[in-house]
């Protein structure tokens, strides 16, 4: 089994990189969220440790592509947080991503039978 690890270690980051964008959009589509909250939900969903800093380039890209908007919110007790909210374009892209993901999932199931 150990022989598989080097290959999986190289493959997994590539898979996750593509997956993270759709997962982040899913999270902010469900409710407006801030960086730490997004990171925590991703870790829980992926059941894996991820370097939290690596989310920020993705968040910036989603912002540049106008799939999300941001807003600083100060609630009296904690430090100000930057919240991410999905845009109508982001929702449309998410729908397409889900379709593409379903196609890929079906292809995998069909070919692995």
């Amino acid at each position: 089994m150990e022989a598989t690890e080097p290959v999986i270690e190289k493959w997994l980051p590539q898979l996750r990189k593509g997956l993270l964008e759709i997962l982040i959009l899913e999270i902010v589509a469900a409710q407006i969220s801030y960086g730490y909250e997004i990171a925590s939900r991703l870790k829980l969903a992926l059941r894996a440790e991820i370097a939290e800093g690596t989310l920020y380039p993705l968040l910036k890209r989603l912002l540049r592509d106008e799939l999300v908007t941001t807003q600083w919110v100060t609630d009296g007790q904690s430090a100000p947080r930057k919240y991410y909210r999905i845009t109508p374009l982001g929702e449309a892209v998410l729908l397409r991503m889900r379709e593409e993901w379903a196609t890929a999932h079906n292809a995998l199931q069909e070919l692995s039978q």
Binding site: A51, G53, T54, S78, A79
Partner: protein
């Protein structure tokens, strides 16, 4: 696990956050976007530290560690920030900076690949010349010094010919060594390009 707000005035907390700010300032292009991002990452660290154990300083340090090594995300962030700034400014200088950020690594890899390809080509020529020197009496290396030497299949008047007994084994060794070295560097660079 505790879940309490972090006192930002704690000296250890201030020191750790200032250290993070300093590292990010060094890694990212200056501007409002960078300041905003630093503020956001500091808020992330404080949020994470609120859910940790230990002293405030330890919790903040652990939260910074959980961000991962700066090298894992700062280059991509720098490119994103440069892109935002260039889009905002649109000046030739900003565009040049953006190209440098995006293409810098690729250009370096292309240069390495080109040098390797040239070295391999030279090695093959050297090999051909060494083999030819075994049969053609005039083929070989004509040497006047490092700035004046010629690999040739024909006789040259401007420089004395290096003895075939020295040239052939030397050229074979250099050609094989150069070819293997350059091909390995090339494969390594291509692999890094692929995985990057």
């Amino acid at each position: 696990m505790t879940n309490s707000a972090i006192d930002r005035s704690d000296p250890q907390v201030r020191k750790a956050l200032a250290n993070l700010q300093q590292q990010l300032c060094r890694a990212l292009p200056a501007g409002d976007e960078r300041d905003d991002l630093i503020r956001e990452l500091q808020a992330h660290v404080l949020d994470a530290a609120e859910r940790g154990n230990g002293s405030p300083g330890e919790r903040v340090t652990r939260a910074i560690t959980d961000l991962g090594p700066l090298s894992a995300f700062a280059p991509e962030l720098a490119a994103e920030l440069a892109l935002q700034q260039s889009a905002a400014r649109g000046s030739p200088l900003a565009i040049a900076g953006l190209l440098a950020t995006h293409l810098g690594r690729d250009l370096l890899k292309s240069a390495v690949l080109m040098i390797c390809a040239l070295a391999m080509l030279f090695a093959l020529l050297l090999l051909c010349c060494a083999i030819a020197a075994l049969w053609l009496p005039d083929a070989g290396l004509y040497w006047n010094g490092w700035s004046d030497f010629t690999l040739s299949f024909e006789a040259q008047q401007h420089a004395p010919k290096v003895a075939t007994a020295w040239f052939v084994p030397g050229a074979l060794l250099v050609a094989i060594g150069m070819y293997l070295g350059a091909s390995r560097i090339m494969v390594w660079t291509l692999r890094r390009t692929k995985s990057g």
